[in-house]
């Protein structure tokens, strides 16, 4: 086994989220609500990666995510890989897919939008890969995926 892989302990059951851009690690933690997690969470920050140069990794014991939860990562880290581990074996790989609707994730950049002025959740529609934009359900403002800011934090 390579030395790098030994930096984080192997998992018996749970989820490994790999290839997280290090600059996005804390946003990923926030989006998956790992602050409140009670089982063991191992976080590798700024690990060397052949593919990415520098990456981060999260291992969460005894935790499995629904597709909807995984897809919350789409605006922040669309290229992460999720491996579902059971009894030390990878039994499933999950990809992040952009959901048609994002609720409470993205902040609207229109300061005159109702969502920035009421205690309420934002709601965005994904307008397709080709267009590469999200549209606010309330004020109809379109935001490029590259310019997205998160609603919280």
């Amino acid at each position: 086994m390579k030395r790098q892989e030994l930096q984080v302990a192997a998992l018996r059951n749970g989820t490994v989220i790999d290839h997280i851009p290090s600059s996005k690690l804390f946003q990923v933690i926030g989006l998956l609500h790992l602050e409140g997690e009670r089982s063991a969470v191992t976080i590798g920050y700024n690990l060397k990666s052949q593919k990415m140069g520098c990456k981060s990794i999260i291992k969460i014991a005894d935790k499995f995510f629904s597709d909807a939860e995984v897809n919350q990562l789409s605006v922040v880290a669309p290229n992460v890989t999720l491996s579902v581990i059971r009894d030390f074996e990878v039994v499933e790989k999950k990809e992040v897919r952009m959901p048609e609707e994002l609720i409470g994730i993205v902040k609207c950049d229109n300061h005159k939008c109702i969502t920035n002025n009421e205690p309420m959740l934002t709601r965005f529609h994904f307008l397709g890969k080709e267009r590469g934009t999200l549209q606010c359900h309330y004020c109809n403002r379109e935001i490029n995926l590259s310019d997205v800011k998160l609603a919280k934090g």
Binding site: N110, K112, C113, I114, N117, E118, C136, C139
Partner: protein, 315 residues
């Protein structure tokens, strides 16, 4: 209960638009009825708009409804920090329908989601103003006898003009040709031109605004070029008088051509045009009453059949 709120007509089908036009025609013939007798309409104007409010309140009054509400946001609890949701929840205890004007974009959509009674959007910031669009469509139909295959010229502020954007969207069912005449700073935004291309709407952009350019118009839709929209005031000074319509520019106009304007006008339509057969902006404003009567009824679940077979007609 099905949410019958009217937030936008951008998604209305052709059939739905034609249905509302049919309703408005009935109200034009006989506007005074007791169809809404016993109902309470709330008009909540978080931003003043006298014209729109009077039109909605007249529509409600002429149908026998009672009206509650406020015309000035300074008197509401919003100034005390009350949320929009709380105001809507409170008012929905009293009224059967809420007509709301708000300065924030998306406010009407949100209100319609939290409100137990239907909400009619009377304008939410720069976003949507469906009753204006409905009265524009009704006026175009009334003056041309059809909505099909018309040449519609949009003049003035095409960048921020909410009415011209909504009209563009609503006309997509009717195979129009749009003509855009605007200063560079206030030109039709690229995403609306993309919308035209995606929806097979023909459009032509013109540099000049003169008798020859508008000779082909069925509808000449004028808007106001506002000083505060310009970042470069020299540019404003250069263009401000270029988009004024004078009587001499109508020399080649088609006989069926009508001039519309959402009002208020400042100086963009010369006063001497008012008594020509082309001027139609005051009748257009009057149509706001019929369009809003149709909207109130449709939103409250009253059908075209109910209106045609109405036994409550006064005059």
């Amino acid at each position: 209960m099905e949410n019958r709120s009217l937030v936008t007509i951008a998604h209305h089908s052709r059939q739905k638009i034609e249905y509302l036009i049919r309703m408005a025609q009935e109200f034009e013939k006989r506007p005074n009825r007791s169809l809404l007798c016993g109902r309470v309409v709330a008009t909540l104007f978080f931003e003043p708009s006298t014209r729109t409010r009077l039109s909605f309140e007249t529509a409600a009054n002429r149908l026998g409804a009672r009206v509650i509400g406020f015309a000035d946001p300074k008197v509401t609890s919003g100034t005390k920090g009350e949320t929009l949701k709380d105001t809507i929840m409170m008012v929905s205890n009293y009224a059967d329908i809420i007509v709301m004007r708000h300065y924030l974009e998306g406010a009407a959509q949100y209100a319609s989601e939290v409100s137990p009674v239907p909400v009619v959007n009377a304008g939410d910031g720069a976003n949507q103003h469906p009753s204006q669009t409905m009265l524009d469509l009704y006026t175009i139909y009334q003056t041309q006898g059809t909505l099909e295959n018309l040449n519609i010229y949009l003049v003035g502020d095409l960048k921020y003009g909410r009415t011209v954007h909504s009209l563009l969207t609503a006309m997509r069912h009717f195979s129009p040709t749009f003509h855009f005449i605007a200063p560079d700073e206030l030109a039709m935004p690229e995403h609306y031109k993309m919308y035209c291309r995606e929806n097979g709407i023909r459009y032509v952009e013109h540099q000049d605004f003169d008798a020859d350019t508008i000779a082909g118009a069925d509808i000449l839709y004028m808007t106001r070029v506002q000083r505060e929209r310009f970042t470069d005031l020299d540019e404003y000074e250069r263009v401000k008088d270029r988009y004024l319509l004078s009587r001499s520019m109508l020399s080649k106009a088609k006989p069926n051509m009508k001039i519309l304007h959402p009002l208020p006008r400042v100086n963009e339509i010369e006063y001497s045009i008012d008594d020509t057969p082309y001027a139609y902006y005051f009748q257009q404003a009057r149509n706001g009453l019929y369009a809003r009567q149709a909207i109130l009824c449709d939103t409250l679940g009253i059908t075209l059949d109910d209106i045609i077979n109405d036994k409550t007609i006064i005059s």
